[in-house]
Symmetry: C2
Subunit: 489 residues, 2 copies
């Protein structure tokens, strides 16, 4: 693969400057059009030629409007980053629609460096490659234009350059010991890089291996490739509307039908169980904190099923230092300018902490599906995206557990009516709530499919009978305790 | 001070529940009105009674709309936080307009814990108190309602409670060894706390010391105080328009008049100086990185003065891993829902890194002042706010340097006209640019006042003659090198 970037490509000074005159105008125009477009551009930049990469960053800032380029260098992993799943820092740094993100090293460098240092073996590298592909796929599915550049030098060329720099007073100050080490390691690195690039070069997110010996050739080729890619995407025809999801016949008996809504606890049993389970939870959470194990809990359920009450019975057992409740509402405009999972990545707890989501990313396959806020292709691919997302949490070592609080339609009506009579609960009831009841069956379909497709061994769903609030609250507490015990051993 | 919170205040169950019925409705209504208001509420919560604080957090979440309460527990300082000025983490966590921030411990706990551990002496505590007051003042000046609660228990009461808990199977699981230590330390802590609370209880940001022995009294009193404070602010009359800034006669000869605009470098000297200074800078930046010294550079100047070019001559000497250029445009709607310094706090570099601001927080006293985007009282108090802000950077150990690139009105006109002839520079020229020229004298006044009032020994301004771009670029490089050398010794 790299041989094709060792051909001695060069561009003369005159040709370069001449080409630049037009190119810079076109880059600025493309960037201007991009600002109105509903997608972002993510450029991954790395390669053998460290100085070349710096130079590309520099010229792109000069040739384009730097106010709309967001550059991130990903160096050593910080404490804050280490305490979250590996891709957390890349999600944090994503450009919003209309912007260009220039990411140096990023997820490619991480995987290669780990393999080179022997931190991971070939099998683990394959696994990392799979993660990279899923990450890039999730972005490109939403419309992000992902372009990756490898600035290439052969080992011979690299050595030649370092030796030349040593004798050149203009370049010598920029030489570092690590440059020689990097050069030495090239024989080991390049086979891994070749595999990595080959396996992650997809039509969604292609790699461009660029010969970096001549700076004019390198800079011009990268800028032209970037320009052509943005232009092609801007001018691409609208994709056809996605195929409608097939109306699969519902199972006679689904998960929800098996729920025993008569489950109940009397007041005495409730009081004593609540106390026992809260004390148990308290100890487990302290233990999780000491062992740096984070916990992610998701609460979904019918309106008025008692999510808030169940969450409060949990948090009563905890200290404010240990947890954070994240109420999830409709996304803001800012959030809508990113992949829909972006806002949830931002909220992930650090090691040892608990995040409790009051509604969650499952809105995509519940309300957004049923109400038509998401296109069919969007919510259909969301199952896979969500499973990927949660598996990264689990792989990082987090406890992940999801609850669906289930009640009957009659239960719900009774609770709505009761709320309307309680002054401080009235605000919770709107006309929407009644309207949503008309779509009960559609929601049942959505819940069934959601639980079936996203319940995994490491990130399971528990459907909780919630007609009796006391029973539901204790059940949630017990389940969280069990999940923590399983993880903490 | 604390004696007044050791009076045995109690509220009976019936009275409590009765009061709650109305209180919860009123809290929800106040919160609803707050959402439309142009200010936020920041509640600082701490005190002897750790469990009481947790309980208050819990009931406020229950009684109000939890979706609009943003709770932050500030525990040990993380690596990421340690690498920024002390108040960075509090700025990150500020609520936006319409929201309530519930901050536990926060800046009060930090100062008290440091004093108790002997990390700082009385003089340093005084200094910290000064910082707290300036921080709270900056927030309240912008309209933020700051309310602080101390949940108090006497040592005797605290001991009694711990002993009781030890014998109570319901409470025993929640006891921690640290509770006994905390109790032991109370005799030492309370005098510091008294001083701290006394010295930071201002009309802008009052403390409320709440007797915490009886949970009903505590919860009700805090919720009622919060409600009354929000209501009072919502119903406060509009403040009268601020006094116009007096038209102070301009000095015959200001800073700008002393700039020698004939300063120039010929091509040869430029080439050689550029190379020398860039190499020098490169080494210094590596050294700063090794010593964990961060650098904050600010570039302001007339339109077309050459800020971008000067910045690029800097970054050419650096590696992408070392710096970040932050182009500053008009604030977004999201940014406008916070104190104007909020967006700059977010961009501060971590230790060892350089942040280069292409325009900056000085927009407040330049364009916002001249164009009337900021009220007179806003830009007038900005000088002090900026000096406070930068002094926190310097105190943290950062190198801070600010550049005003100066050209004449004729220089500017010539450059505008030249830009219009260069295809890729055309986009930089708008009608606004020509309009701004009409206000040249107003800008001169603003620049003069800015440089005079915000140039400090640790965060100085350099006014750079920029009629000759080559001279200006080298001058900037030299100045940055000198500033780094001074800091690195």
């Amino acid at each position: 693969m790299f041989e094709s970037a060792e051909n001695g490509n060069k561009i003369g000074r005159k040709e370069y400057e001449h080409a630049l005159d037009d190119l810079r105008v076109e880059l600025l125009n493309a960037q201007f059009d991009l600002q109105q477009a509903p997608f972002s551009v993510l450029v991954l930049l790395m390669g053998v030629d460290r100085w070349g990469v710096d130079d590309v960053v520099s010229v792109l800032h000069e040739w384009m409007d730097a106010r709309h380029i967001d550059t991130h260098f990903f160096g050593r992993v910080t404490e804050q980053e280490r305490e979250r799943p590996r891709f957390w820092r890349y999600w944090q740094a994503l450009p919003s629609d209309g912007e260009i993100g220039l990411h140096i090293g990023a997820w490619a460098l991480g995987a290669l460096a780990d393999r080179l240092d022997g931190e991971i073996d070939d099998a683990r590298l394959e696994q990392r490659i799979g993660q990279v592909r899923r990450f890039e796929r999730a972005l490109s599915d939403r419309g992000t234009l992902v372009i990756k550049f490898w600035c290439h030098l052969s080992k011979k060329e690299y050595e030649k350059r370092l030796k030349k720099a040593r004798k050149n007073p203009e370049l010598e100050p920029y030489l570092e010991k690590s440059d020689w080490k990097r050069c030495e390691a090239l024989d080991d690195l390049l086979p891994f890089a070749e595999r990595f690039i080959g396996r992650t070069s997809t039509s969604d997110a292609p790699w461009h291996v660029i010969e970096s010996t001549d700076f004019r050739y390198r800079n011009l080729t990268i800028a032209q490739t970037l320009l052509a890619s943005i232009r092609a995407r801007l001018e691409a025809p609208e994709p056809p509307p996605s195929a409608k999801a097939p109306a699969v016949p519902r199972a006679r008996k689904g998960v929800l039908d098996t729920v025993d809504l008569t489950s109940a606890l009397d007041k005495e049993a409730y009081k004593s169980e609540l106390q026992t389970q809260q004390a148990r939870l308290h100890q487990l959470v302290r233990k999780a904190w000491k062992k740096n194990v984070s916990t992610v809990l998701v609460f979904e359920g019918w309106d008025a099923a008692g999510k808030g009450g169940a969450i409060r019975r949990l948090t009563r057992a905890l200290s404010a230092r240990d947890y954070r409740v994240i109420p999830v509402a409709a996304p803001t405009d800012e959030e809508n300018a990113y992949h829909y999972l972006w806002r949830f990545w931002r909220q992930l707890p650090r090691d040892g902490q608990m995040a409790i989501f009051d509604r969650s990313w499952y809105g995509r396959v519940l309300v957004e599906r049923v109400e038509g806020f998401a296109r069919d292709d969007e919510w259909q691919r969301a199952y896979q995206e969500i499973v990927d997302f949660e598996s990264q949490l689990a792989e990082h070592g987090a406890v992940v557990h999801k609850f669906w609080l289930h009640i009957s339609q009659d239960d719900q009506l009774a609770r709505f009516q009761a709320r309307e009579k309680t002054p401080y609960k009235k605000y919770k009831i709107t006309d929407d709530d009644y309207r949503n009841r008309d779509k009960w069956d559609d929601y049942v379909d959505a819940v069934e499919e959601m639980v079936t497709r996203t319940s995994t061994d490491s990130c399971p769903w528990t459907v909780v009978p919630a007609s009796d609030k006391k029973f539901a609250r204790v059940e949630v507490l017990k389940t969280v305790c069990k999940a923590l015990e399983r993880r903490l051993g």
